[in-house]
């Protein structure tokens, strides 16, 4: 068990989400077409959106429970969120991006810094500005930034969808070795089944804001 439990109902304009699932020990894939509610689920888990009703447990700790009124803010949930297009801070170097989490928490430079940089193969990019990175490089840096904030769970929102086919092959092996090296449960969102099959221990299918089977 990953200690991840998710159940939430949310109405956002015309969109209705009503979904519940439990995470696998390592990689849980959220699979479904665009607009199914996958990214919304990640935002709910991360604390960037608030469910109308529900309960979210991460690594055994309840972070949201509408029954008791508990709602931990995003900064206390210890989630590493990797967005579709990376979303590195454009006014900071790659190194500053990677160290933003520890810096914001006033923690020392993480012991895993060098190893993370090595696995992601971004050592040569540390002093570059994000706009001078390729899509794949940007995405690897974003994964590093999330990992180095010492997360209890890693949330990947289609981390390779904005990257072309060739570059995808460059990121996916990194992801595979990361899941080996860092024993952090991961939720991986994708609409491409080939990515999901390779990585996931469990696939949760979602469509129109509802879970199909799991």
């Amino acid at each position: 068990m990953s200690g991840l439990e998710f159940s939430a109902r949310l109405a956002l304009g015309d969109f209705r989400l009503d979904a519940a699932f439990e995470g696998a020990e390592r990689v849980t894939a959220l699979f479904g077409p665009s607009g199914a509610g996958k990214s919304t689920i990640l935002r709910l888990i991360a604390g960037l959106l608030r469910p109308d009703e529900g309960r979210i447990v991460l690594a055994g700790h309840t972070v949201f429970d509408s029954a008791t009124g508990l709602n931990l803010p995003a900064r206390k949930r210890r989630v590493g969120l990797v967005f579709q297009d990376g979303l590195l801070f454009p006014h900071m170097s790659v190194r500053q991006n990677l160290l933003y989490g520890p810096w914001a928490r006033r923690a020392p430079k993480p012991a895993a810094f060098d190893r993370t940089v090595e696995i992601l193969d971004i050592a040569k990019l540390l002093d570059r500005a994000p706009r001078r990175l390729s899509g794949g490089e940007r995405q690897r840096a974003a994964i590093g930034r999330a990992l180095l904030s010492d997360p209890a769970v890693l949330l990947m929102d289609e981390p390779v969808s904005a990257v072309d086919q060739e570059r995808r092959a460059e990121i996916l092996p990194h992801l595979a070795s990361l899941t080996q090296e860092f024993p952090i449960p991961m939720i991986y969102v994708s609409h491409a089944i080939e990515e999901v099959e390779r990585l996931a221990d469990k696939v949760v299918r979602i469509r129109d804001g509802r879970i199909q089977d799991s």
Binding site: R43, A46, G47, L48, P73, A74, R75, R77, V79, G80, L81, F83, D85, G86, L87, L88, F89, P90, H91, Y100, G101, A104, R105, P130, R131, R138, R145, A146, S149
Partner: protein
Amino acid sequence: MDFTPEEWQAIWLTLRVAVVAVVGSLPFAVAVAWVLSHTRFPGKILVEALISLPLVLPPVVTGYALLILLGRHGIIGQFLDRDLGIVLAFRWTGAAVAAAVMGFPFMVRGIRLSFDAIDRDLEGAAATLGAPAWLVFLTVTLPLALPGLLSGAVLAFGRSLGEFGATITFVSSIPGETRTIASGIYALLQTPDGDAEVLRLCAVSLVLSFGSLVVSELLIRAGQRRLAQ
């Protein structure tokens, strides 16, 4: 160009009033712009309309409102005078207040646009990495909005340079105290043989206003470059 001491006085006073107006109102404008950009609340549209009101109200009405509120016997002004010894009416500080009120909508609008242009998920990313809201503001929102923020401030500065109606109503046009370039031009137009001086002050006004618009545009472009990934 050789300026008379009176002209120098008016130019210097105009710049001083505009700088004080902009610097003094900037923190409020940033706070208001942040709230308008990041929150939803009932009656928000009324707050937005209220802030923009000086754009459409006859300036003489704004000036008269300032007199009623902040004049020596005004609703707030009497307490400022009695308890704090602050008098605004017919003083250059009052001119700065009038300029600040008239420039405020420009400033809020410019700053708000630059806040709106920032991807909310960038702020969300900072939050998930462990940054409290104030740190997200200082390290992500503010640096990314900075050029737009300065552009809004420069635009308000330009607006302050030309402020006339509300100023003359609230603080009159007292040489050496509240006679700015704009009210100086108006006073000269009332006197015979003032044409040469009028033209000189008009030229100064043109240069300052045009300059601040150019600076404002340059800052907006710098802002767009900054946000580009």
